[in-house]
């Protein structure tokens, strides 16, 4: 689907801006928004590009720089913290060999921290793309990353 047909699915109103930006971001292999995307979104909903830029830089889920094919988000809220999220973070850092906010050289994974994922009963929790993975141990981190590496 071209980006124009993607945009055409939304009414021309600023209230659809965030949804449109989510879709545009997902359509890019780098999970990010390009200057062209911002311009397209601006002209589609009828606001200046500066306003779109203003919005994009406010929300933590939008990125203006390319990210990995999969986004790994580890929850950094108190419950996960108490349940040992940091040993999961250590394992993520070790396996991916990147720091928080960085992308692996092969472009597969970006490591991020996130606010509460609302799955505190199974803390510590991370989210890989749209999948929530709980009860994290170093082993479980390893298995999950391996699963995504194999494309399952």
């Amino acid at each position: 689907m071209t980006k124009d047909t993607l945009a055409a699915r939304y009414p021309r109103s600023a209230e659809t801006l965030l949804s449109l930006l989510h879709d545009l971001q997902r359509a890019n292999p780098g999970n990010h928004l390009t200057p062209e995307d911002l311009a397209l979104a601006a002209s589609h909903v009828g606001v200046p590009t500066s306003l779109v830029h203003d919005a994009v830089t406010f929300y933590s889920m939008f990125s203006l720089t390319p990210r990995g094919r999969h986004i790994v988000r580890l929850c950094e809220s108190p419950n996960c913290h108490l349940a040992g999220a940091w040993s999961a973070l250590d394992e993520l850092r070790r396996l991916l060999d990147v720091g928080v906010g960085e992308t692996t050289p092969d472009g597969e994974f970006t490591l991020e921290l996130t606010s509460c994922l609302g799955a505190c009963g199974v803390a510590p929790v991370m989210m890989v793309d749209d999948e929530v993975v709980g009860n994290l141990t170093p082993d479980r981190v390893r298995e999950t990353l391996a699963r995504y590496r194999e494309g399952r």
Partner: protein, 577 residues
């Protein structure tokens, strides 16, 4: 587990006899995966795929519950277990019982009957009067009377009005809205439709955070089914009333749970709060009168219309009616979602339902109300949980997150942790919140590093009160609560950090002694290699190692390096660094 059960059922040719239903959350998260078998209501916990064959052959074929998988032996049914028996489920009644992806199952639990009753038997004014009589207050945290809010929107001038469902649940540790959206999405849609009828709105939005993809999916399914069946759309129940709801997704901003920030976000702008007044009730989305309520509030509405305001108002206390859902977490045996009558004491919540602190540790405090809630000590365990009692004692109801802390928690560090969160999430628009939280955080960082002074305590309290009274929105107005409440109830712990340079709980790395537990040490040499000053000493293969206090700079490298948890932190005994 599902696959294993289906396979086992298939092997015994039971697929037409036993229906396997995927439901929403049943509550006790730490016992999951859980399985509830009807009609008798047998409750299995911690089931594993390899248990499937036994459950099928023993329970379904021979009619004998598998005793080893019951929560407590001899009490196979949820209502006999204290965790469930002390609860009262109005809002969560359907969660864990019905298939949220099937509108028929919702209708079988009197779904959309309340909407029908409101549209055909009640005037909008009568619906609002019923809400007022029920005493329902907003479940999003602030506790504004729901009926009064509805009346304000109804009375506001303008033909076009909106109803917004606030599903931007962001408080760490609170996940009741997610459970409702995933487990019983129609109850929220029905509540929104009733509200729209009452206030005179024809369009609605439900704003869900992007971190909840499953909730988004369930809502999309529910919306499509509701439209198909005609309970949303034009001329609902063949009346003059038309109403439809659109889904809107956030993009990762905690402050968007604040109503004016949420409205700005729907308008496609940065989700920054706006000064109030004017309130959304008169100047909301696109400047039009807007009713905005939280998910749990909307999910409660149908019960009030169905059972009557009087029945609802018999539950709870004088000023806090009905039930409230809490998310129990932290150092408590039974974590998970619980729904209890308002006015229950903290003790009942933490000990009777939560099962208390796991063995070997002592209860120290309960942090209630999310990151901007307060920490209440053991001496306040008999305080009733309602909006007013909690705020009298320096906590808030908030969205209902309850984190139990045991004696291993350092209250200064806990306060610092929560403040770090709110300071980080401060949108930066108003000075008191943006600068004030950073100043407080700076002081707390000094204290946990051992560089605090007695004056810092007064300064923390002063800045805290200023941030509370001068901030633009609820985020800043409540952000100092964790600090102010710990200053109020745990001043000795602050003073120990400042005067004795000692962290009584043994948490703050700079204010502890490091010791090697001789029995746990295996002589692996990891601590000696990690230690930058030669304080960790020993010979590889010849445990135990030891740590020399006179060389130690309390960096914690040995603590982090030890693979056997043999290095522990103890409170520092002397005032020396």
């Amino acid at each position: 587990m599902k696959r294993a059960l289906l396979e086992a059922l298939g092997r015994h040719d039971l697929l037409t006899e036993v229906q396997l239903v995927e439901t929403g959350c049943m509550g006790p998260c730490e016992l999951g995966p859980v399985l509830l078998v009807y009609p008798e209501g047998t409750f299995y916990v911690r089931v594993r795929p390899e248990d499937a064959a036994e459950i099928v052959s023993e329970h379904f074929l021979k009619g004998r519950p598998v005793r080893r998988l019951l929560w407590t032996e001899g009490a196979p049914q949820p209502q006999e277990i204290p965790f469930f028996a002390r609860q009262k489920k109005l809002v969560l009644r359907n969660c864990g019982t019905i298939d949220p992806a099937k509108i028929e199952e919702y209708i079988a639990t009197d779904g959309y009957v309340a909407l029908g009753k409101a549209l055909t038997e009640m005037t909008p004014e009568a619906v609002i009067a019923e809400m007022k009589r029920s005493g329902l207050r907003g479940r999003g945290g602030a506790g504004f009377p729901t009926g009064t809010k509805w009346a304000l929107v109804r009375g506001a001038a303008g033909d076009e009005k909106y109803v917004i469902g606030n599903a931007d649940e962001g408080d760490p540790g609170a996940f009741m809205d997610r459970a409702i959206l995933e487990g019983d999405p129609h109850s929220v849609l029905e509540g929104m439709a009733i509200a729209a009828y009452a206030v005179g709105a024809s369009r609605g939005y439900i704003y869900v955070r992007a971190e909840y993809p499953l909730a988004v999916k369930r809502l999309e399914v529910a919306l499509a089914q509701a439209r198909k069946l005609g309970v949303l759309g034009s001329r609902i129940f063949e009346t003059e009333f038309s109403f439809d709801i659109e889904l809107r997704m956030g993009a990762g901003a905690f402050v968007c749970g604040e109503e004016t920030a949420l409205i700005a976000s729907i308008e496609g702008l940065r989700g920054e709060p706006r000064p109030r007044p004017p309130y959304p009730a008169t100047h909301g989305l696109w400047g039009k009168p807007t009713l905005i309520n939280n998910v749990e509030t909307f999910a409660t509405v149908r019960r009030i219309v169905l059972d009557g305001a009087e029945a609802f108002a018999t539950i709870g206390t004088e000023k806090s009616k009905g039930t409230k859902v809490f998310a129990l977490a932290g150092k408590v045996r039974n974590t998970g979602l619980v729904e209890v009558p308002m006015g229950i004491t903290l003790r009942e919540l933490v000990f009777d339902i939560g099962g208390g602190v796991p063995a070997g540790r002592e209860f120290k405090a309960v942090q209630i109300g999310g990151p901007s809630g307060g920490c209440l000590p053991a001496s306040l365990l008999d305080v009733p949980v309602d909006y007013d009692s909690l705020s009298t004692h320096g906590a808030i109801m908030g969205s209902g997150g309850v984190i139990v802390l045991d004696d291993a928690a350092c209250m200064v560090n806990v306060a610092r942790f929560f403040l770090e969160f709110t300071a980080d999430e401060s949108c930066g628009r108003c000075v008191p919140c943006r600068v004030g939280t950073q100043m407080m955080l700076g002081i707390l960082n000094r204290i946990v590093q051992g560089d605090g002074t007695e004056d810092d305590l007064a300064r923390l309290a002063e800045i805290g009160e200023m941030v509370k009274s001068a901030s633009l929105c609820g985020l800043g107005q409540t952000a100092p609560n964790p600090v102010l409440s710990t200053l109020r109830y745990f001043p000795d712990e602050y003073r120990a950090h400042i005067h004795d340079r000692s962290c009584p709980a043994g948490v703050c790395p700079n204010l502890v002694r490091y010791r090697v537990i001789a029995e746990a040490c295996r002589g692996c040499d990891a601590c000696r290699r990690a230690c930058p000053t030669g304080a960790a000493q020993g010979v590889a293969g010849k445990p135990p190692y030891r740590i020399a206090d006179d060389l130690c700079i309390w960096c914690g490298a040995c603590f982090d390096a030890c693979p056997f948890d043999a290095v522990t932190r103890l409170p520092r005994q002397t005032g020396k660094r």
